[in-house]
């Protein structure tokens, strides 16, 4: 297998490459979902797999999310390792019972006797005006209910490594890829997500945050597509003399509390940036963790920047008002530095 030191590929390709390698190394890995076959996945996550592995291992499904996600439960109990695509995370509501009451809990309810090595991969995020039912992050909901690991890669390297880790893992994993990181031609995509990706299979362990950039003055904790925006905001802020440390959580479950706490102990300030809704979600959890474990280190109130508890509006100007932007991040950091 060709390896290089500088093979930049899109996140979509990183994901489909991980899937191909997993399917090569393990015949138990199967893939199904809507338009994952000939089409290659609406967001390119399964490009080329149908051609490579054929209709027995790569299957298009009807628009029956409860049935085909639930099918992964039974198939995994019988020894398969299904990867299933829920086209948009926004559609979770038609299939949530199978996900959270069964896929997530059967291991526990069976006293550890049943395992469901299933990856449910799904597209998240906005930024391209797909409005209220096709632009949400929503990962906090999956992180709230016990029994699911929740992975949200911010770049192609992590995307490949976390996908391989998720597939090899014996627990169900909700794997959320942000549409705006995939490098699709027909959608704005953050070029920061297109990084060097080794050709060989490798894993990025689930549960280890990454210091995306070191800094001294303020900890910025974030995930997914907000990592790239935060990095850009950090550059701007550096010019103002503000040194921002960026923590890319990578997974919400397991949550790398130590990474967050350590950073705050160093910087004494915390900004949380999240593309999910603000209340009762990721930004709240991080804030609470710090108020529990590093309260005395905080020199100013924490600050949360997230979708302000409104549905994602359609029009460009409205959408960009509610989804945290580079400038909004800059302002949030400034505000924390001033308070």
């Amino acid at each position: 297998m060709e390896s290089t030191q500088n093979r930049k590929i899109t996140m979509a390709r990183a994901i489909s490459e991980a899937l191909a390698q997993a399917m090569e190394e393990d015949p138990r890995v199967m893939l199904w979902g809507e338009d994952v076959g000939v089409y290659g996945g609406i967001f390119g996550s399964t490009e080329g797999l149908y051609e490579k592995f054929g209709p027995e291992r790569v299957m298009d499904t009807p628009i029956s999310e409860s049935a085909f996600i639930g099918a992964a439960i039974g198939a995994s109990a019988e020894g398969m390792r299904p990867v299933v695509e829920l086209m948009f995370i926004d559609f979770f509501g038609v299939a949530m019972d199978q996900i959270y009451n069964h896929l997530a809990k059967n291991h526990y309810m069976s006293g550890g006797h049943v395992r469901h090595p299933v990856v449910l991969m799904t597209a998240i995020g906005g930024g391209y005006n797909d409005a209220a039912q096709h632009s949400q992050a929503l990962y906090s909901i999956f992180a709230h209910v016990p029994g699911l690991k929740v992975a949200v890669p911010s770049n192609a390297y992590d995307a490949k490594g976390m996908m391989l880790a998720a597939i090899r893992e014996d627990n169900p994993v909700i794997y959320c890829f942000h549409k705006g990181l995939m490098g699709l031609g027909w959608m704005p995509s953050d070029s920061l997500a297109e990084v060097h990706v080794p050709a060989e299979p490798y894993t990025v362990p689930l549960g280890q945050a990454r210091v995306a950039a070191e800094g001294e003055d303020v900890s910025l904790v974030t995930i997914g597509a907000m990592v790239g925006k935060a990095l850009k905001a950090r550059d701007r802020l550096a010019r103002e003399g503000i040194s921002v440390e960026i923590i890319d959580l990578r997974t919400l479950v397991p949550l790398d509390r130590a990474a967050v706490v350590e950073s705050v102990m160093k910087t004494h300030r915390l900004v949380i940036v999240d593309e999910d809704y603000r209340s009762y979600g990721m930004s709240a959890e991080i804030g609470a963790v710090v108020a529990e474990e590093a309260l005395d280190y905080l020199e100013s109130p924490i600050r949360r920047l997230a979708v302000p508890d409104v549905p994602i509006p359609y029009s460009r100007i409205l959408e960009s008002t509610v989804i945290p932007s580079e400038m909004a991040i800059v302002e949030a950091v400034r505000a924390v530095m001033e308070s």
Binding site: E34, D35, G37, V38, Y39, I42, D60, T61, P62, I63, S64, E65, S66, D90, F91, G93, V94, Y128, N129, D130, A131, A132, Q133, H134, G185, W186, M187, P188, P308, D309, V310, P311, P313, Y314, S315, R316, I317, L318, E319, T321, V322
Partner: protein, 350 residues
């Protein structure tokens, strides 16, 4: 033991509905006009959508934001059904809603402005092309496949409870017939004898997945048996055949005799969404669909039967083109919403 039960009624001939209905109050030319209006709207939307986009289908550029699912080719369904509806009848539609909205009488300018994301839009730019709401004509739609069916049942229930003789039409793609809401809603409507007409647009594909790879039966209309209600399949994408089936179903519902399931063979003349390369279509499939364009066929029929003159046709073409241009002009010239608009309407203020 295999159950070979009778299936739904299949109608495939554009036979003499015209003769039958010719004198009974149906305005075939008006139906034709609305079909033309829809087609021109969709064609112009396709053009407008690509304006200023580089690469061609970059969702971020140009005057029209977001995804775009066009319904050209599916005009007969919307028009044949809506011809029987009053403004206070209810219609719920799916992610591909323009033809339905226009046929139901949604204000074209406000709808276009909404699609452009403008402050003058139906929803002040907050809804978008998959979320058109016009309570004036009791129209709504949703981007979630199969999601319009339960609300239609509830609307039907409400109208009956209120003593209105209204009906609710739930429009959905053939792909929606495999979603749980389809089953639950048909059962509930049948059980409660709710005045609902379920209409499936069988354009044979759900994005890239052909019906044969998603649906265990040939015709979803056969599924009516599972609810003890009438099921009709209309082959041929013929507006008059649809008109007739809808007439019976709407009358049945209005009279309190319960729901009907109608499935209509139709064709999707654009891709699933604009930008869809349609690699999954067999060669020649698209051309074949275009050859059977339901609007030209209807025009030929109307002309052949002297129900419409060439002049009237040209006048109609002029008219609808103007109407569409005016709507697009209105949308273009309308202001963007104020950013603060994003924060309103989460809740009704008390």
């Amino acid at each position: 033991m295999v159950n070979n039960g009778n299936r739904s009624i299949i109608k495939s001939e554009p036979i003499d509905y015209l003769d039958f209905h010719g004198g009974m109050g149906m305005d075939t030319v008006e139906m034709y006009r609305i079909m033309c209006l829809i087609r021109v709207f969709e064609d112009r939307m396709a053009e407008t959508y690509t304006e200023g986009k580089t690469p061609l289908f970059s969702i971020a550029g140009g005057p029209v934001p977001g995804e775009m699912h066009l319904a050209a080719g599916q005009e007969p369904v919307a028009v044949g059904v809506a011809a029987h509806l009053r403004a206070d009848d209810v219609m719920t539609a799916p992610h591909r809603p323009h033809h339905a909205a226009i046929a139901k009488g949604v204000d074209l300018k406000a709808m276009t402005a909404e699609i452009f994301g403008k402050a003058t839009g139906l929803s002040k730019g907050k809804g978008g092309h998959m979320h058109l709401f016009d309570p004036r004509v009791h129209f709504s739609c949703s981007g979630i496949v199969g999601a319009g069916l339960p609300p239609a049942v509830g609307a039907g229930l409400a109208m009956r409870h209120q003593g209105r003789d209204g009906v609710a039409v739930a429009l959905a793609g053939e792909g929606a017939a495999n979603q749980g809401t389809f089953h639950e809603s048909l059962n509930l409507a049948a059980l409660w004898k709710a005045p609902v007409i379920f209409v499936l647009e069988d354009n044979q594909y759900a994005i890239s997945v052909p019906k044969s790879q998603s649906t265990a039966v040939m015709r979803n209309s056969d599924r009516a048996v599972a609810y003890g209600i009438p099921g009709v399949y209309i082959a041929g994408n013929d507006v008059m055949a649809i008109y007739e089936a809808a007439e019976e179903a709407v009358a049945r519902a209005r009279e309190g005799r319960g729901p009907t399931l109608i499935e209509v063979e139709t064709t999707r003349l654009y891709g699933h969404f604009q930008g869809d390369a349609e690699v999954y279509l067999a060669e020649g499939q698209k051309e074949e669909w275009r050859r059977r364009d339901p609007i030209s066929r209807f025009r030929d029929l109307l002309l052949a039967r002297d129900l419409m003159s060439e002049e009237r046709d040209q006048e109609i073409q002029r008219e609808v083109r103007e109407q569409v241009e005016e709507a697009i002009r209105y949308a273009r010239e309308s202001p963007e919403p104020e950013p603060s608009e994003a924060f309103d309407d989460v809740f009704v203020d008390i």
